[in-house]
């Protein structure tokens, strides 16, 4: 981005505050007036999505939207800036929030969950934090919203309030807060003092590549601190919070652990690689090799683990870890097409994976089944759900005409740009592994005969559960056909 | 840095006062830290503060100088103040600035003033500390630190409902007179039971350490018989022998 037009606009802030307003409404409505409460959630989600989408044309016209909230330090403002990747991420998150809300209504009511007010309000909070991350313009701002997300999702993860919830919550917070407070904070204050010595704006646009002034080791150390500091990216070995956090209700797993939280992590990593280090510094510092290696290792290992998981949600979780590996890999490739592919993959994978999670949840609501081995023949009872599952898994595997194909394609191209053949090989192998651990689910569901016919009462989940997953499955196709717009956003097409 | 000969020479010959104050200070400090009886700690505190006062006062000492009060020849209202009879105080301001030659005749008043403050603070602290001691004694029937700590620990463990990590739950019933820990609690329980006799003895003894005069005076007078007993006042033979000891 060489000095684009900057537009002062309050819309980013509105997108940020809409969930807060929604939360106030939600709490005011309370458990007594459930419908009113969920209506507030819908309103907040739609307002947010509308505002975010209304920003698209501005960005496509090559401008950048900024909003200055307040001055954190004498040099570092709390600055919101909307650029292509950020907006893409924001669009995905806010649009999928609507779907998730609809789904959550079905799910929570279907299971008669408790404390739904708390659930919806913290859900809104975490979405606000996600918007903040997507729109932040410097390291400190992004850090603020990153921490806000960690804390505001804790009540969602520990929603069940029992022993498992405690274990899951502990792993979750333990990993996230430890990394962010002990690895990220030093890196940040290092940048604060020494990045661009003196004028301490840790700005993404102004300070790209200023890290280049540091010594070799310093750069490596900073890269390390940032990469693992944003542990939400789920790079191995800092990944185990993600399966742990699967104790949460499925809507939470779906949105937060397929879309918001993990994608925030990889988005932060992308920001660091693309806008703090910058492709050329990254390319010449030689530190990105091992970043790529770690990412590839994460991809392969997590796929292998996923093969061995029988619990459907855990399998999906490990598949998520692998897919995040793609994005980090793309960001680390440090070529335009590679990093563009990474951002694209945020969207594509989000759409595919949320479909899968929705399906898992729908199956659980309808039949109470959690394990892949229990799903024999369930496809005949719930054809819509399992059909959507099929589509989702194909998209994640990356077959045309589904969204997943595009991003993987650009990742491969990016890898070829810097003729790193082995990366392409890794991509191929992992796609193969995806096939192995995702397709069997659908296959079992459709073609294996159930061992007993006793659960003949089994039928589709209630419609609020089914509609969203059909929508998102359909979205996978749309993303493939509308990919030009996305490519424009990430600057891969004029 | 310093070898013994020189330092002792300097200390004992020309800086004896500093040496003395250091010794006093150490005595006080030692008493405050290491003594077991709270009252003895307070005595140490007084010694400690006195040592500091001695130090300050010895700062003010000046060779060949008198106390900081103007001699008649320098007194603003003294001989040299030309204050003739019909002049009222309204106009009279006869004082002159002391000529530099006269200044060495007077010691520096500042340390004395400072120490007046320090003394008052010391008195206040002592009074406060004594009242706290009385309060402790009222609550726990002892002014010995180790016994006090023992009782405090027990009280804390009882209060925190036993589920305190540092103290297993079992001990709470034991404190209520179970077989366990009986040996340790032997004398303390009987002390808390027979709270009446002990406080009086300690009370008297403490008050003696506190204000020596009154205790003695009263000791003398409390020995004499009085033959018309008042309704309110009641003789306490238990008191006599102990007072005789004093």
């Amino acid at each position: 981005m060489n000095d684009p037009v900057i537009v002062e606009d309050i819309r980013p802030l509105i997108a940020l505050l809409a969930p807060w307003a929604g939360m106030i409404g939600i709490i005011w409505a309370g458990e007594k007036r459930a419908n009113l409460r969920e209506m507030f959630t819908f309103i907040a989600a739609s307002v947010q999505a509308a505002v975010v989408l209304s920003l698209v044309p501005i960005i496509l016209s090559g401008a950048v939207v900024e909003f200055h909230i307040w001055q954190i330090f004498s040099h570092v403002p709390m600055l919101l800036r909307v650029d292509g990747p950020g907006l893409l991420f924001a669009c995905v998150a806010s649009v999928l929030w609507i779907a998730t809300t609809l789904y959550a209504v079905g799910y929570m009511r279907g299971l008669h969950e408790h404390a739904q007010t708390r659930f919806y309000s913290f859900f809104a909070l975490s979405l606000s934090a996600t918007m903040g991350v997507a729109f932040s313009a410097n390291l400190l701002t992004i850090y603020f919203f990153y921490e806000m997300l960690s804390v505001s999702t804790f009540p969602l993860v520990t929603h069940m309030q029992d022993k498992q919830a405690r274990t899951g919550g502990r792993t979750y917070l333990g990993y996230l807060l430890f990394t962010s407070l002990c690895l990220l904070l030093p890196a940040l204050s290092w940048c604060y003092v020494w990045l661009d010595g003196g004028n301490m704006t840790m700005d993404f646009m102004a300070d790209v590549g200023k890290v280049g002034h540091f010594g070799e080791t310093t750069q490596i150390v900073l890269l390390f601190l940032f990469t693992f500091g944003f542990a939400k990216a789920g790079l191995m070995p800092a990944h185990s919070w993600l399966p742990g956090a699967m104790v949460a209700p499925t809507p939470v797993s779906a949105l937060l652990h397929a879309v918001a939280v993990v994608k925030v992590g990889v988005f932060c990593v992308y920001r660091v690689y693309a806008d703090v280090f910058g492709p050329e510094v990254l390319a010449k510092m030689g530190g990105e090799e091992w970043a790529m290696v770690i990412a590839s290792a994460t991809i392969i290992i997590s796929s292998l683990i996923a093969l061995s998981q029988d619990n459907l949600k855990r399998r999906l979780a490990f598949s998520t870890i692998g897919q995040l590996g793609y994005i980090v890999l793309g960001a680390a490739i440090a070529t335009d097409r590679g990093q563009g592919g990474a951002v694209l993959h945020i969207a594509m994978h989000a759409c595919g994976k949320i479909t899968l999670f929705f399906c898992a949840g729908a199956i659980f609501v309808a039949s109470g089944k959690k394990y892949v081995s229990e799903l024999r023949g369930i496809g005949r009872k719930m054809p819509l759900t399992m059909g959507a599952f099929m589509i989702g898994s194909l998209s994640v595997i990356g077959l045309p005409p589904l969204g997943g194909f595009i991003s993987k394609w650009y990742l491969a191209l990016g890898a070829l740009d810097r003729d790193a053949m082995w990366v392409v090989v890794v991509l191929l192998i992992s796609s193969l592994l995806n096939v192995f651990y995702l397709l069997p689910v659908a296959v079992t569901a459709f073609f294996r005969t159930p061992e007993t016919e006793k659960d003949s009462s089994l039928k589709e989940a209630p419609w609020p559960c089914v509609v969203p997953l059909l929508l998102t499955a359909f979205g996978c196709f749309l993303l493939f056909f509308w990919s030009d717009t996305l490519l424009q956003m990430v600057g891969l097409q004029p | 840095m310093f070898e013994d000969g020189s330092i002792f020479n300097q200390l004992l010959v020309e800086r004896l006062n500093y040496f003395i104050y250091v010794v006093l200070l150490l005595i006080g400090l030692w008493a405050m830290i290491a003594k077991n009886n709270l009252i003895k700690k307070l005595i140490g505190m007084s010694i400690f503060q006195t040592a500091i006062i001695l130090f300050y006062v010895s700062i003010g000492v000046k060779e060949g100088a008198t106390i900081p009060i103007y001699l008649p020849e320098h007194d603003p209202h003294g001989s040299h103040a030309q204050l003739d009879s019909n002049q009222t105080e309204l106009l009279s301001h006869g004082a002159k600035v002391l000529e530099a030659s006269a200044v060495p005749n007077y010691t520096n008043p500042l340390p004395h003033v400072l120490m007046l403050t320090a003394i008052v603070v010391g008195v206040a602290t002592l009074g406060l500390a004594l009242s706290v001691c009385l309060r402790i004694y009222r609550g726990y029937g002892t002014v010995e630190e180790d016994e006090l700590l023992e009782k405090l620990e027990r009280e804390d463990s009882r209060k925190s409902g036993g589920s305190n990590k540092r103290r297993p739950r079992r001990r709470t019933p034991a404190n209520k007179g179970g077989p366990a820990g009986q040996s340790k609690r032997g004398q303390t329980t009987e002390k808390t039971k027979s709270d009446k006799p002990t406080p009086r003895r300690r009370q008297a003894s403490k008050s003696r350490t506190k204000t020596n005069g009154p205790a003695k005076e009263q000791a003398k007078s409390s020995n004499r018989e009085n033959d018309k007993p008042k309704p309110v006042k009641r003789r306490r033979p238990a008191r006599k022998p102990k007072e005789d000891k004093s």
């Binding site: - | 003010g60 060779e63 100088a65 105080e89 403050t117 009446k196 406080p199």
Partner: protein
């Protein structure tokens, strides 16, 4: 524990001894403390500034009057704290009886005291009022005055003393003393000077600024005397009766 304490104390002692070799020798007129401009200003100009022959009093009540005000406040605090810490103990008669004194006031003692108490009090007033020209001042006078009441309590019993100086009145008087002190300072503040700048009192009293300081110091000392007297007696009364205010010791 004791060993550690001993070593600690020893280390501190060595430290202080080591420092002592750097001190000016005893009574050296050239020592910084004695030859500093502040000290020589006190000695040379006290008369001119305040007309007070006794430099200690001048420094105490005027130059460093703020210190002294808080000194008085410290005494007041001690009284308040002791009284409120000790009062309101467990109310059982047996405990109370332990503090009952079971003897008649002795004839000789009481009569002697009857004779000397007035003398003590007169002397206390003298010490207080004469603090400007001779050793003395508010604290000394106040302590002597308080001692006279304590003597009454010792020779008769506390009830007799409290009948002459009730404990509530003690605190009223003590607070009054502080009001007098701070009030004089405040008056000079309102008259356009700084706080405790007595010289400005000359605007309302027919004296020269220096004599204003002179007399204001007397007033201040009186305030101090009030507080110290009251609190000394209150301390004795509270401590000797474990806060019960029955006849004590």
């Amino acid at each position: 524990m004791k060993k550690a304490a001993f070593i600690l104390v020893l280390c501190i002692g060595l430290l202080l001894a080591w420092a002592a070799k750097d001190f000016p020798s005893w009574g050296d007129p050239q020592s910084p403390a004695s030859s500093s401009p502040v000290a020589s200003h006190f000695i040379a100009n006290t008369g001119v500034d305040t007309e007070v022959p006794n430099m200690v009093t001048a420094v105490l009540a005027d130059y460093r009057g703020f210190d002294t005000m808080f000194e008085t406040v410290v005494v007041f605090i001690a009284g308040l704290a002791v009284f409120s810490i000790l009062r309101g103990g467990p109310k059982n008669r047996t405990r109370d009886r332990e503090f009952v004194v079971d003897f008649e006031p002795d004839l000789i003692v009481t009569n002697t005291v009857r004779l000397i108490v007035p003398v003590i009090q007169i002397f206390a007033l003298y010490v207080l009022a004469h603090g400007h020209v001779s050793p003395g001042g508010g604290f000394q006078g106040g302590v002597a005055m308080g001692a006279s009441f304590i003597l009454i309590a010792l020779s008769w019993d506390l009830k007799t003393a409290l009948a002459r100086f009730p404990i509530e009145r003690c605190f009223t008087v003590a607070a009054l003393g502080i009001v007098i002190y701070a009030g004089i300072g405040l008056l000079s503040l309102f008259l356009g000077g700084e706080f405790l700048d007595y010289a400005h009192l000359a605007k309302i009293f027919p004296v020269s600024p220096e004599m204003a300081r002179y007399h204001a110091m007397l007033g201040v000392e009186i305030g101090v005397g009030f507080t110290v007297t009251a609190i000394m007696f209150a301390l004795y009364a509270s401590l000797s009766t474990d806060g019960r205010m029955r006849d004590g010791l």
